[in-house]
Every structure is written in C-alpha cells, then in structure tokens.
C-alpha cells in the first residue's frame, strides 16, 4: 500500500474568494498540492477574444495572497489551471504579473513553471490542411482557413502530461495556460503514482471547489484524498457536508454526458462508479476508469470579433402598446431599414428582447403575456461602432414616437431609465474555433524562471 495523496482545492474559480479558515483547515491535513482552476468558457467568447480576465485583478490577488502566502512557506506546490480565465498568453501574463507582485511584497522566492497553451495560426492551418481538425460536436461548423486567420488568440486544452513534467522539475508554482479543467488536479495524483482514472475523476470534482457538497458552492474549499483503488472527498467548512448523493450528482455538472467524459487522449468512464459514505461527511468513490485513446486530440478554442453593438434599455407601461408590442417593433425595424436604403441590410441587425414577455426563451416561450409592464432591450449589431450607434439612434427615435393604431399616449412610447439612453457596448465576439486537433499530449512548451527575484539580484 502506498501513501495517500491529498489535494486542496480552495475554490471553484481563482478570484471568486473563499473562507480563509477552510483553506487553513485543508492545509492542516498535510496536502501534497494546492490546485485551483481559473478558467471557464461559460461567460462567452469575449474574454478569450479580447484577452481580458474573468475576475478582477483585485479579486485574483486577494485569493493568491492567501494561497501563496500559506503554501509556499510550507513547501506545498501551487498549480493554477487555465490562468486568467481563458489561458491564452495575455491571461497568463496577467496572472504572472500578480504573482510577481505578491512575491515581491512578501519577500518570497519561488521556482515558477509556466506552461503555454497558445497555438500559432500557421500551426493550426497546417493541422487543418492535414485533416487533423474536426468539430467538437455536430452543430459546430467545420473549421475554415478564414476563421483561423481571423482568430487572434487560439488555445488548446492541455492534459496532465506537461504539468507532470513541471512537477517532476520541482516547481513551486505552476501556471498553466488553457487546461482541461481536471488536468492540473490529475497531474498531482499521477505524479505520486496514483491511478489516472481516480486522479481525473477527483480532478473533475475538485475543480468546482465545494460545489459537490451540500449546500454546494464554488466559493469554498474542498479536500480530496487519493488512496489505492478509491478516493475520498470532504468539505472543510462546518456549514456544508459531502454525501454520496451530492458527490454522485456533481458528476452531472456542466458536462454533455453524465458518466462518459472525454479528455485529451482518453475517455473517463464513470458508469460503474460507487459512491459510499466512508465516515460522516467523507465520501468514498471507486470504479472510475481511464480509457486511453489511440490518438490524442486536444480541444482548441478561439474567438473572433464579429461586430459592434449599441443598445438601449427602456420600460413600457402603456396597456395599448403592450397589446401590440411585437407588431410595433416589426414596423420600427421596417421604417429604420427604409430610412437607410444606402446601407446594405447585411451590414447590421436589429433585435428586440422583451423582458417580462419572452426575452429568455424567445420563440420557445409558451406562457401567454399577463403582465402590465415590459422591459425592452433593443440592440443594433453592425460592422462598425459608428454604424451600430447611428442605426440604434434611428431605432430609438422611431420607436419613441411611432404612432401605432389606437395610440392615446401621443407624447412618447418609452420610459428610459438613463440619460443618455443609447449605450455603446463595443466589439462582440463569437467562438470561431471549438474543434478537436490531433496533437502530442506533451506538446505544450514549459518555461522555468525564478520568481520573486528583486531587481539587480542574480537570477
């Protein structure tokens, strides 16, 4: 029997915050690593496309101050997955800048490993021409050379392999570019000789923080322990606990299939897992199977700028207008188009979202409207910001003054909450790449450097 391997996950997203007390309780267990996921595509394509972070710099620094301040003196390695939210170069640099600031302020030294997950357009184009790229699901369009060229930041999700190398090199802090969320956790188990199926399954649970507990949250810590033939998970805060059902149910979370998970180079089969109470609040999981694939495909992600948006929020309380709102909106679109015959109709789109009526479900809404007030959000999405703003101003003034049949309120149709009413949103993006690419599992370059070295000091 080999020793148990313990991993502390402070929270489900670096910068979401966590109780310091939970983190300290976790460390008291003598953990082998602190691993935190910083990435997500949930917020849409903008963060990757624009190269900006999901959380504020202030929030990220607050979390890292606790994590690094407590872990480094104890010689516990810290791994950050999908740094900066999307894990592309600007996101990794943003994270490194915060880490360096903390090391300097606290007079700490650390051996840093930085694992890059960026792919140059030429590299992706080569793979595309060689037929090594396929859409991830059936409703992702096939990749085109044009889409690759229009996509500034392309990242690929790493597996555990490069992280394992960085651990073998004795790194104190490992900053990963885009990673498959469970990989940084799995690398710790595999580094210590544990089963990859258990290591990845535990990683899948830990990457969300305490979300697998009851009550679940991403804003609290969770402890995972990998033994031989099983792993356990437990909460670190007295206000929540893990149960076999809460942990089993978490397997469902944000994945397309409840028990078959595809990672880079493998499938994780959880169909025959057993979830049992080990002791109160500690759930024991076994039966997770790691099935290697013959060829390694990594998930590529990229986002491109598609248009610019200007939008308006307004309230409507007039009962006569509410009765015929959709018709009036269609007329407003038609009149706006008529006003701009010189502009190609393909250069812009006008959309209305009627909150209180059907804005969330759109055409899927089946409930009849029964309210007395509606919040209307209308947007113009166009090739340039100037075009979006000009057309949006026309939509707004047309809508505000349109004399629909039966109108009694002849002074104006919209209650604007703000002045000015038109809000320039800036560029909007779309996921232009969401494909699998055949690529070697260890094909992610690692850069080592000494962190916390003062200016003028030898490196």
């Amino acid at each position: 029997m080999s020793h148990d391997v313990k991993i502390l996950s402070p929270c489900g997203m670096l910068g979401y915050g966590f109780p310091e007390e939970s983190f300290r309780r976790g460390l008291e267990h003598g953990v082998h690593a602190v691993v935190v996921d910083a990435g997500s595509t949930d917020g849409g394509p903008h963060k990757l496309g624009a190269g900006v972070a999901i959380v504020s710099r202030r929030a990220c620094k607050k979390d890292l101050e606790i994590i690094l301040g407590e872990s480094l003196p104890r010689k516990v390695p810290v791994i950050i997955g999908s740094a900066g939210g999307s894990g592309a170069k600007p996101h990794v640099e943003w994270t490194l800048d915060i880490i360096e600031e903390i090391l300097r302020e606290r007079n700490l030294r650390a051996k840093l490993a930085i694992i890059h997950a960026d792919f140059a357009p030429d590299q992706v184009l080569d793979a595309l021409r060689q037929g090594k790229i396929v859409p991830l699901t059936t409703n992702v369009p096939p990749l085109t050379e044009e889409a690759v060229r229009q996509t500034p930041n392309i990242v690929g999700q790493m597996g555990h392999e490069p992280i394992l190398k960085a651990l073998e090199a004795g790194s104190d802090i490992i900053v990963c570019g885009r990673a498959y969320d469970p990989s940084p956790f799995a690398a710790v188990g595999i580094f210590h000789g544990k089963d990859p199926g258990l290591s990845y399954h535990l990683g899948k649970i830990l990457e969300c923080g305490a979300l697998c507990a009851d009550p679940g949250t991403t804003k609290d810590g969770i402890l995972g322990t990998i033994g031989d033939g099983h792993f356990t998970v437990q909460a670190l805060n007295d206000c929540r606990t893990c149960t076999p059902l809460s942990v089993a149910a978490h397997t469902f979370y944000e994945k397309e299939h409840p028990y078959l998970l595809n990672g880079p180079g493998f499938t994780l089969d959880l169909e025959n897992c057993r979830f049992a109470e080990d002791r109160p609040g500690v759930v024991r999981v076994s039966g997770s199977r790691y099935i290697p694939q013959d060829r390694t495909f990594i998930k590529l992600e990229g986002a491109r700028l598609t248009a610019y948006r200007t939008f308006v929020i307004a309230g409507i309380r007039d009962p006569i207008l509410l009765e015929r709102l959709a018709d009036v909106e269609n007329i407003v679109i038609a009149q706006t188009k008529q006003y701009y015959p010189e502009i190609d109709g393909g250069d812009y789109q006008i959309r209305f979202y009627n909150y209180g009526m059907n804005a969330v479900l759109g055409e899927r809404e089946y409930e009849p409207f029964r309210g007395h007030e509606v919040g209307v959000l209308f947007e113009v999405v166009a090739k340039t910001q100037e075009l979006a703003s000009s057309i949006c101003a026309t939509v707004r003034s047309t809508f505000l003054h349109y004399g629909y049949d039966g109108r009694k309120s002849t002074a104006g149709n919209l209650a604007f909450p703000f002045a000015p009413s038109d809000i320039e949103f800036g560029p909007i993006y779309e996921f232009s790449i969401y494909h699998l690419m055949e690529h070697p599992a260890d094909g992610f370059p690692i850069e080592y450097r000494q962190g916390g070295v003062q200016d003028g000091e030898a490196g």
Binding site: D42, T137, T138, V140, F252, E256, H257
Partner: protein
C-alpha cells in the same frame, strides 16, 4: 399527473461548452426516480416537442442511476455570447422542463 418541477430536487440548465446546453434533473427519493424512469415520460420526442427541436438536435438523453437523475444535452441555436444569444450561461433554459406534466404509476400499496 405531476409536474416534473414538483418531483425533482434539482432541475437546472447550463452550457456544456458554448455550442450545447445541458439540462439536469436530479431526485432525492430513489422510488420517485425509479417511477419516473419507468414511466417513459422522458424521451427524445418529449424533449424535442418541449424545446422545438429536431430529435437529432438532442445529442444525449441519459439516465444515471447512481446520481438519481437524468441529463439531456441539446444543440444551441446560437453559440454562447454570440450576437443573438439570449442566455450566455444557458442558465435559464430549464423552465420548460420544470413545467412538463408527467404521468407515473402509483406506489405499490
């Protein structure tokens, strides 16, 4: 007849990547879960009708006994956060499933 929302402990929707939305329905009573599963109320046909989809736009519909739940993964009309999307996180697309009326056999006496 009962509403699925009254029978389940958790009904939620969320992105499973930017091109799909996954609907989870979880129970806390094994007996209710088993009856629901046996009722055959949850089929690709039912989901397609509820969400105005073709059956091939339903990528997965799977029951998982250990977790007392089922999962349905559907194609997104517009990818998350692109122009025209209504729900970037896909977090509010579960409501139709909550309202689904299901007919189940009675408990054994």
């Amino acid at each position: 007849m009962a509403k699925l929302g009254d029978l389940a402990r958790v009904i939620r929707s969320k992105n499973a990547g930017p091109f799909e939305i996954t609907l989870d329905c979880l129970f806390d009573d094994p007996a209710v879960y088993e009856r629901l599963k046996r009722s055959n109320a949850i089929t690709k046909e039912t989901i397609a009708r509820l969400y105005g989809l073709r059956e091939d736009e339903i990528h997965h519909l799977v029951f998982f006994d250990q977790a007392l739940g089922f999962k349905v993964t559907i194609a997104r009309e517009v990818s998350s956060g692109s122009a025209g999307d209504r729900d970037v996180y896909g977090a509010q697309q579960h409501a139709p499933l909550m309202d689904l009326e299901v007919e189940m056999e009675e408990d054994e006496p």
